[in-house]
């Protein structure tokens, strides 16, 4: 297997014509997790087993909005095989969880509000999963029903009931103001102003939530899918009222997250069950439970106004965005904050105003999802820009190039971009390479079809918005010369374990195969923050680089003794250390590690990195939200059936500036996966909610693209290194999804002359708009 991958990596590296000055970095080495995954050896939460384990199942509220008055668990307790039933009385701590705001009950307290359908009322703990499921149906509760608030309009109505003890029904209002927008619009020759609407999207990770907890009387260990074990531990410790050093949270192999596994899911219940019963406890959501009660992508109502002079220089940008964040904050406030900072796109605009709300309703909660409030904006803003280009009379790529950020540009939050501004290069790549795959003009394949080509761009700040988000790493060189890396970052399939090992191998000058990693285990690894915000390559990557550089000092000290050379004279090549003044003599890292021990040194390094951000001013959003930015431009070719409204996406050319490409084949996989998820957002995916309840909770009713719906992808990797990134690397996980739906929407306009401002572009939606425009066949 290794041999095959080595050949592939050369092909991929050559394909992308990437800089190749490194020995491991920039190579498509095999991912650390793949072999176990293809062999079925990886252990997911649902795979944990113990003979004496108990199983948990929640009884959830049927009300969207009510005050809980009583719970009757007597029938469940009497049911054979039920061990115990947990209610709020069994939650020793805060009984409030949440990534940003502690507002979501672990188990709803009597006298308190139920705020959405599916709020946890009780948790049955039983001998088998089946018994737990049956008994959970026997638990009843009484509640005083309140009138649920199920739309943004109702939530923001002046006389609306307050879902929380507050004077407004929103979790956050964010304002970013730069320049004088109202004055600037007066000077514009062309103004494009539109309303857009986007839908709720489900993460649809392959692995529904699952976990397993073991309590030994002193330490509680939890194995569960997660994107951030350290924050899980903090949230759990507060609710369980146990110290964090007696709580070990281990990430089980995680089958995708996309933002949906940042919030606690099964963890509090298995923790409580294990502590209460003294037996290992397990809980696994089935697909329906996962789709109904996990967080979702925010649906947005967007009003956006773009103004330019007659040459197409964008002078002013204004947007007002309402995101339905549902009943609990989750990551809604952070999502709408990011939306505000990035709404205008990768363009230098002197006058920008963005106002965003994360609105509180009694709907299922929205939270983090790949792109974090930016894909919705791209759908709106990139369509506005293409409309603007048409009005100006210039090519849409040229319009973007004319306005694209450069080094030294000032962003809407007042940040001066210092380096790594690759937007122009992605536009040039699409301009040059795009037509090689997608002919600018071509007949559709059938007389009743129309063909179109569309382009959209994006920028994405890497890391959490305007908040410290440090990551740590330990690197130890062992006596045989192999290396062990310990980091908090969770590899959820995106490949962070692989990336980190490549970075450490590069710094230490050791083979990639000799670097092993332990990640996302609060008992063993330092805090790595969340595997979200496309941040781990950049943030944990820097931590690994720093930790490896620190241990390298010890190795070099040992090498200098062995080589009888000055430490400054020690170099590394071909996995050996040598004296630059006498390159004939070489020592291995194993020699150096042994020598360290003889010298009384443990070759152990640690490091942590925090992006150079500042808090954003609440009044005008000014500050430095991110340490670096990724950029991308995508081009989509589609055909539309003018009789049925079906859109067939034929090809996508995707040019992504990733800073430095650490692992090209993995980046290509991210681009293809992101585009596919973006295509789903663009064409078919939609969680439908009726009366506060998800009515599309299965893959029979919630459509995601199949292999046959996926177009041909042409990935272009652009390397515009950022001064802050490890070896210049940035991130690509979320950027890959962001422009896709927008590019498809622009292609639809190119094909038909009809601009659709509501996602998804289902055949029903498209045909209705074509008919309205008198263009349907």
């Amino acid at each position: 297997m290794g041999t095959i991958m080595v050949e592939d990596k050369i092909a991929v590296t050559e394909k992308y014509k990437l800089g190749n000055k490194y020995h491991v970095l920039g190579k498509s080495v095999p991912k650390k997790d793949v072999l176990n995954k293809v062999l079925g050896k990886s252990k997911f939460g649902a795979d944990y087993y113990a003979d004496n384990m108990v199983h948990c199942k929640l009884t959830r509220s049927k009300h969207s909005y009510a005050i809980l008055r009583s719970i009757d668990a007597s029938k469940a307790l009497a049911y054979p095989g039920v061990v115990t039933v947990l209610t709020y009385e069994n939650v020793p701590g805060l009984n409030r969880q949440g990534e940003l705001i502690k507002d979501e009950p672990v188990l709803v307290r009597i006298g308190e509000k139920i705020r959405k359908k599916g709020d946890p009322i009780a948790c049955v703990v039983a001998e088998t999963a089946k018994i737990a499921e049956e008994a959970a149906k026997l638990i009843t509760y009484e509640a005083d029903e309140l009138q649920p608030i199920l739309t943004v309009e109702d939530a923001l109505a002046p006389d609306a009931d307050m879902i929380y003890d507050n004077d407004h029904n929103y979790f956050i209002k964010r304002v970013v103001v730069h320049g004088d927008v109202d004055e600037a619009f007066k000077k514009c020759d062309i103004i494009v102003e539109n309303d857009y609407k986007t839908q709720i999207q489900e993460h649809a990770y392959i692995e529904p939530e699952g976990g397993f907890a073991v309590y030994d009387g002193e330490v509680l260990t939890i194995y569960a899918c997660s994107q951030n074990v350290h924050l899980d531990a903090l949230d759990l410790a507060e609710n369980l009222e146990i110290p964090m050093n007696k709580l070990r949270v281990v990430q089980s192999t995680t089958g995708g997250g996309f933002g949906g596994k940042l919030d606690l899911t099964v963890q509090p219940y298995i923790a409580l069950a294990a502590m209460k019963t003294g037996r290992p406890a397990k809980m696994v959501f089935d697909r329906k439970e996962s789709m109904k009660y996990s967080v979702k992508r925010h649906p947005f109502d967007i009003h956006v106004k773009t103004g330019a002079d007659k040459t197409g220089k964008i002078i002013a940008f204004d947007c007002l965005v309402y995101g339905d964040s549902g009943a609990y904050a989750s990551l809604g406030p952070a999502t709408l904050t990011r939306t505000a900072t990035q709404s205008a796109g990768p363009y230098e605009i002197d006058n920008v105003r963005a106002i965003t709300y994360a609105v509180t309703t009694n709907n299922p909660q929205a939270g983090a999802m790949r792109g974090f409030g930016v894909p919705q904006m791209a759908f709106a803003v990139e369509q506005n820009l293409t409309e603007l280009a048409e009005k100006v009379g210039i090519d849409p790529i040229q319009l973007r190039k004319n306005n694209a950020y450069q080094v030294g540009s000032v962003t809407p939050t007042g940040q001066v971009l210092q380096s790594g501004v690759g937007i122009t290069k992605t536009l040039e790549a699409i301009e040059k390479e795009g037509p090689k795959y997608i002919a600018p003009k071509k007949e559709a394949s059938k007389p009743y079809k129309k063909r179109g080509v569309g382009v959209a761009s994006m920028w994405y700040g890497i890391g959490n918005t305007g908040f410290p988000n440090p990551s740590g790493a330990f690197v130890e060189v062992l006596m045989d010369g192999t290396v062990h890396v310990k980091i908090g970052a969770a590899d959820i399939g995106q490949g962070s374990d692989t990336t980190m090992c490549q970075i450490v191998a590069e710094v230490l000058g050791v083979p990639y195969q000799d670097v092993r990693i332990t990640s996302a285990d609060t008992g063993l690894t330092p805090d790595g923050g969340a595997s979200s915000a496309s941040r781990q390559t950049y943030v944990s990557g820097n931590a690994c680089r720093l930790a490896a550089e620190s241990v390298k000092q010890s190795i070099i000290r040992a090498a200098s003794v062995l080589l009888d050379a000055d430490p400054d004279d020690v170099g590394t090549e071909n996995y050996c250390y040598f004296a630059k003044s006498n390159p004939e003599k070489k020592v291995t890292i194993k020699d150096c590690a042994c020598k360290c021990h003889h010298m009384g040194i443990v070759p152990l390094g640690h490091g942590y990195y925090n992006p150079p951000t500042t808090l954003l001013n609440m009044k005008d959003g000014q500050g430095i939200p991110y340490g670096c930015y990724a950029y991308a431009t995508q081009m989509a070719e589609i055909e539309v059936d003018m009789r049925t409204g079906h859109i067939d996406v034929l090809q996508i050319v995707a040019a992504h500036d990733v800073g430095t490409a650490v692992n090209p084949i993995n980046i290509e996989a991210q681009i293809q996966g992101g585009c596919t998820m973006g295509l789903g957002l663009g064409l078919m995916e939609e969680i439908v909610i009726e009366n506060g309840e998800v009515v599309t909770p299965s893959f029979a009713s919630y459509m995601i693209p199949t292999a046959l719906d996926v177009p041909i992808y042409h990935s272009i990797i652009i390397e515009e290194p950022d001064i802050n990134g490890p070896f210049g690397a940035k991130g690509v996980g979320e950027p890959s999804l962001i422009p896709t739906a927008a590019a498809i929407a622009n292609a639809l306009y190119d094909a038909t002359g009809v601009r659709i401002k509501r996602l998804p572009l289902t055949p029903e939606n498209v045909l209705a708009e074509l008919k309205k425009a008198g263009k349907a066949l």
Partner: protein, 287 residues
């Protein structure tokens, strides 16, 4: 909770053991039944598994007709040389049901007994003039498929009755048939609407025609009034187009989670026209 499960090994064992109970369900592939049980939509007392009865799994050539056993899977239909030669429309429809995994398990008998108005095999079986052979405690009877469906999940089957096979007419030279479907994506898609057309040509005229439509009513339907208007007409594109318009005018689809009434009505004509053109091309090719 829980049910009695029985898997008779032969037809005689099955007939002798039939439960004349309200709550007896016959299990074929289980792609609908098992899901309904799991979801709590039905709670059977008895489940009789037809899977061990060999003769129900066979496709037989009986001269002018083909006899398809009730537990023949969609994959079998899709791949059977006999079906591909004489009833390609059914092979095509069966090949568009669900995914390979579902087609390997789901059966044609199950598909019609589930009586979903969106079932993909139903329009094809209807235009092939399918007849359902039924056995039960009170003897045997044959029911034309067009009289078989009542409404979603309901057929004319009575307590203790089950389907043993479906008879279809072979598509002869000078005849053609086509199945068309609109789904929400290119694979693994439940039909938003579907249609099948069978026709027989006589020179440049339509000598006979059968049209079946799915997902536009509470059951898969034939539209005899439309068929009658088309019989005897000289075929050309405008007649195909007229067939589409007539079909569209004859249905009142509904809005549900999968699509809207407007949309279904908007595309019925498209798929009928297309099915008709393909059926005609096939009929011409066969002459």
């Amino acid at each position: 909770m829980g049910f009695h499960y029985n898997a008779p090994a032969s037809m005689s064992e099955l007939l002798s053991g039939i439960k004349n109970a309200d709550n007896c369900y016959f299990l074929a592939g289980g792609t609908d039944l098992v899901v309904k049980i799991k979801e709590g939509l039905i709670a059977p007392e008895f489940v009789v598994d037809l899977g061990k009865i060999k003769e129900l799994r066979e496709i037989a050539d009986a001269g002018l007709v083909i006899i398809i056993g009730a537990t023949v899977t969609h994959s079998q239909l899709q791949k059977s040389p006999l079906i591909k030669k004489y009833a390609a429309v059914l092979a095509s429809a069966a090949g568009q049901v669900g995914s390979p995994q579902i087609r390997n398990v789901g059966t044609v008998g199950g598909n019609i007994c589930n009586a979903s108005p969106v079932a993909d095999t139903s329009p094809a079986l209807l235009v092939l003039d399918g007849v359902v052979e039924v056995k039960g405690v009170n003897g045997n009877r044959n029911i034309p498929l067009k009289d078989f469906f009542v409404r979603p999940a309901v057929t004319v089957l009575e307590k203790g009755e089950f389907v043993t096979s479906i008879y279809i007419k072979k598509v002869q030279p000078g005849e053609g048939a086509s199945f068309q479907k609109i789904g929400k994506r290119k694979a693994l898609a439940i039909s938003v609407t579907n249609a099948a057309v069978w026709l027989k040509k006589d020179g440049d005229k339509i000598a006979d025609i059968r049209i079946a439509l799915g997902a536009v009513a509470a059951k898969t339907i034939r539209i005899p009034a439309v068929e009658d208007q088309l019989k005897g007409l000289v075929f050309d594109q405008s007649v195909a187009s007229k067939a589409g318009e007539l079909a569209k005018a004859s249905v009142k689809p509904i809005t549900d989670l999968r699509s809207t009434a407007d949309y279904r009505a908007d595309v019925v004509d498209v798929i009928v026209e297309q099915a008709m053109c393909e059926a005609w091309a096939q009929a011409k090719g066969g002459n």
